[in-house]
Structure formats: structure tokens, C-alpha cells
């Protein structure tokens, strides 16, 4: 297993006195899609910006494919592509000029064929001579992606790539990111859309208030923390949960029409049979039932909310 990016004890203090990152350590494996989740102001952009060389770290060590980002900055940076969160573009330039500019900045000779393919893949080819200011928001974001890929990086950072992007384009972007991963590119993305992480990521890291709260395989994460809910639609409403059912994790909703039972899906010995039996003994009838599994979103809220 090759480590594409290793971050060791990274801290960042913004002037005059704001600790944006505290002792962050993280390893990203080559060829994986890693999603960094966290609420506003958690430090996601700061983390990415430091790795890319836009913000100075206060302490810590970062290596990109074993190149130190400060001592060996040229080698380290050549391998990195960045799609920033903000639509930071020079508005008077044409799309074609700006992707050529990016490629040049990374020390690569012109390659019209590659850039044409890239723009076509991002449905920007028809717009190649348009000024950037004449593009829609979603197109501008695609231009940023094209710029980030213009020099064929090995590691791609996407800081909220699908913010302000319509559903269809989002699907296309996801497909494109997967395609990139299949060619060996390591992808690190931040997002507020949990479904995006759930859909895309191999591993997920959760950051809150400048600290990494958790890093795990997505599957394992969802299994480990995933609780399930059994919802019962009652035939007749009950005023309250009978005291004999007090040791089940029950909740009464919808003016007594709905009863939910929360249990851990990993727990082999759940109490569903016992619960159903008890209900029958109490004469509580139900006309429908279904179970649901908690999403990453719930996990996220419980983790981040708990840390507050």
C-alpha cells in the first residue's frame, strides 16, 4: 500500500490568535477517494490550502509521495491539482487561455490534444473561446476542474466540487471522479453533502474545530455506527408508552400513531421478537412496519453534535 499523502502533527494558527487546525495527522492511500467531512469553519479548506502551498503551516510535516512540501516543493506540487472552493478565476480570460495558463504554471509543455479531450469531457469545448465571465456558475466550476487537471496530477484536491452544481452535472462529476480514480489518481474531496461522501468515498474523515474526529473505511463506519430503526404504524393511537415496555428504546410519534424502536444493526441479539411479543401482550396492534438504516448524515450529526 503506497501512501500518497502523509500529514503529521499539522497545526495552524491564524493571526492574531485563532487555532484553525490542531495536531492533525492523516494518511491518504494512493488511488483512493477520501472524503473530508465537517461543518462550516471546521478547517477543511485550511488543511487543503496548506498541503497545496497556499497557506503556511504553523507546525507539522507534510509529504506528498515522499516529497516534503516545503523542502521539495517543486516535486511535491507538480503532482497536485487543486479545485478551490471559491470561483477564483480571472474573468477576462478565455477558457482555452486559462487552461493553457494552468498547464504552463505546472511546468508542462503545450498539449492541445490533451486539453481538447479534457474540455470535451467537461462539456466545455464549445465554450473554449468564451470569456470566463460569460459562463454560468456551474461552467465556471468545471473550468476550475479543467485547470486542476490540465497538468495531469497524481493527486487531486476538490474543495466542495459540487457546490452550486445541478443534479445532472453532479452525477457526471461523480462519474468523472471515479474514472480518474480508476486511472490511479488519488482524490481528496471535501463536501457538505453527505450523500456525496456516501456515494463516492472509499474512506471518510470527519473534522471538527480543527481536529480529526474520526477516519474510517466508509463501509466500516456505516456498519460500526449505523443504528437501525423499526417503525410501527399503530392501528389505534396510544396515549403513552406503557411502563412495561420501558426498557426498550422506544419513541412515540405522530400523536401516538407511530412507535419507533432504535437498535444497533450490528447487534446480533436485538430485541425485536421480544418487543413484538410484548406489544401483542399489551394488545397494541400495528398495521404496517418498516426498518431504516441511519445514513452517514445521522452519524455525522451525532459525532459533530456530540463534540460541541
Amino acid at each position: 500500500m503506497t501512501i500518497a499523502l502523509s500529514i503529521n502533527g499539522l497545526s495552524k494558527k491564524y493571526k492574531p490568535d485563532f487555532q484553525a487546525l490542531s495536531k492533525v495527522s492523516l494518511e491518504i492511500k494512493q488511488g483512493e477517494i477520501f472524503a473530508l467531512l465537517g461543518p462550516n469553519g471546521a478547517g477543511k479548506t485550511t488543511l487543503i490550502s496548506i498541503v497545496c502551498g497556499i497557506v503556511n503551516p504553523s507546525e507539522g510535516e507534510i509529504r506528498v509521495n515522499n516529497c516534503d512540501i516545503q523542502k521539495d516543493y517543486r516535486k511535491a506540487r507538480q503532482q497536485i491539482g487543486l479545485v478551490p472552493q471559491e470561483l477564483s478565476l480571472s474573468m477576462f480570460e478565455s477558457v482555452w487561455a486559462t487552461v493553457n495558463f494552468s498547464r504552463g504554471m505546472y511546468g508542462k509543455p503545450r498539449d492541445d490534444k490533451y486539453l481538447e479531450d479534457l474540455l470535451r469531457k467537461l462539456s466545455l469545448w464549445e465554450k473554449k473561446d468564451s470569456r470566463i465571465m460569460a459562463l454560468s456558475g456551474g461552467m465556471k466550476r468545471r473550468v476550475l476542474i479543467a485547470k486542476a487537471l490540465s497538468h495531469q496530477p497524481d493527486i487531486l484536491f476538490l474543495d466542495e466540487p459540487t457546490a452550486g452544481v445541478d443534479v445532472e452535472l453532479r452525477q457526471e462529476m461523480w462519474a468523472m471522479i471515479r474514472e480518474l480514480r480508476d486511472t490511479g489518481v488519488t482524490v481528496i474531496l471535501t463536501t457538505h453533502y453527505i450523500d456525496e461522501a456516501e456515494e463516492m468515498a472509499d474512506r471518510i474523515g470527519i473534522i471538527n474545530k480543527g481536529k480529526i474526529v474520526l477516519v474510517n473505511e466508509k463501509q466500516a463506519l456505516m456498519k460500526k455506527l449505523g443504528s437501525k430503526q423499526l417503525s410501527l404504524e399503530l392501528s389505534t393511537a396510544i396515549p403513552s408508552i406503557p411502563s412495561s415496555l420501558a426498557n426498550y428504546k422506544l419513541e412515540l410519534l405522530d400523536d401516538g400513531h407511530k412507535l419507533t424502536y432504535t437498535f444497533n444493526s450490528q447487534d446480533e441479539h436485538n430485541q425485536i421478537p421480544a418487543l413484538l411479543k410484548s406489544l401483542e401482550e399489551q394488545g397494541i396492534e400495528f398495521k404496517d412496519l418498516h426498518t431504516s438504516q441511519s445514513s452517514l448524515e445521522d452519524i455525522f450529526v451525532s459525532l459533530v453534535g456530540g463534540a460541541k
Binding site: 497545496c52 480570460e93 495558463f101 498547464r103 505546472y106 511546468g107 508542462k108
Partner: protein, 253 residues
Amino acid sequence: MNFYAIRAIYLFEMARTARTLMQSIASPVLSTSLYFIVFGSAIGSKMVAIDGIEYGAFIVPGLIMLSLLTESVSNASFGIHMPRFTGAIYEILAAPVSALEIVLAFVGAAATKSVVLGIIILATARLFVDYHIAHPLLMLLFLVLTSVTFSLFGFIIGIWADGFEKLQIIPMMVITPLTFLGGTFYSISMLPPFWQTVTLFNPVVYLVSGFRWAFYESSDISVGVSLAMILVFLFICLSIVMAIFKTGYKLKS
């Protein structure tokens, strides 16, 4: 050296110049022409010659310097300030380029533009006044050195300034007065002794004087001193720029 990056920034800057041709070439040429008409042809014809040089011809080097300084500073400062303002600077900071390469590209582009502008104004001046250039190569050297130095200075201003007002204030409040008081329209020897001494603290005096010497072989200050002073100023600006990149001052938080 990342030559592709230097070229990319340089071409980007030159394309910006091409987009703003009116404002970057036409307007300084027009305003200098007005000076030539008013001071050179109209008033100049009533003035006595200074050091044996016709007044119209006397002011040519100074007026070129005036445009050169203002344009170098405002062009270079705008060039680096704009990406900071739009946020597009992220790409320059994140790219595998050294500070030296960034400066070479930005300052190179600004200085190129200034040199071209200087030559255009020089050619325009010919329409209004008669002048000759005794040392064309030296004249060109002064032109290039001044353009580079003041483009560097402009680059510093562009990083230091927090907004567009500050960006404009330096050319207007500092460069223009220094040039007017720097012997563009008169010989320093025409001033009372006290003001002659004060004037020696004005760096522009050395530029105008040296530049004029390249034209007419007569100057208030010896040409060697002028050249040395430009180099000193160039070195100071270069050191400041390097310090800026080393500390990330206003570029990186």
C-alpha cells in the same frame, strides 16, 4: 527553472495589456503629447535654452521618465493586485514556481510594456520637438533599468495595497510630485542652493539627470552617480520583493 510558468505568466500579462491597449498605451501617449504641445512647442518657444539645449528638447527625457515611472508602477501593481483581488492568485501560490520566477514573469511583462511605451513616446515627441540622442545605447540602458526598477516597486505596492484606492495613491501622490520636482521641467542649478540640496534626496532626480545626459551629454549630476543610484534602488526593491515571498507577507496567511 520553470520556464513554462514564466512564459505562462508573461503571456497572461501581455494579453492583459493587449486587452487594455487604450488605457495602457494610448492614454499616456496622449497626455505626454499634450505636455509637448503646451510646454514644448507653445511655451518652449518663448523660453531661453537651458545649458544650450532648446527648452522643448530639454524636457523630452524628463517627460518620458514621468510616463515610464507612473506606468511601470501602476501596471506592475495592478498586475499582481488583480489576482489577489479575484483570488486567482491561489494558482500562482500553489504552482511549482519559485519567488524569483514569479517576479521575473510579472516584472518582466510590466517592464516590457514600459520600454515599448517609452519608445513610442520618444517617437511621438519627434512630431513636436527636435532632439538628438548622443548615446542611444546608454539611453536604452536607462530606459530598461528604470522600467525594471519601477516595475519592481509597483509589484511591491500591488502586494502591500489592500484596495484599489491605495493602488492609485502611490503613482498619484508620490511618483508624480517626485518627477515634477525632479528636474523634468528645469535644471536643478536653477534652484536656490538650499533646494538644490533637498532635491538630492529625490531619487527621480538621478533618473532624469542620467537619462538626459544620454541625450545631450549635459546633466546636473554625473552620469556615473545616476547609474549607481538606479542600481541601488533596483537592489533595494529586489530585496524587499524577496523578503515578501520568504515571509509570505500578505500573500499567504
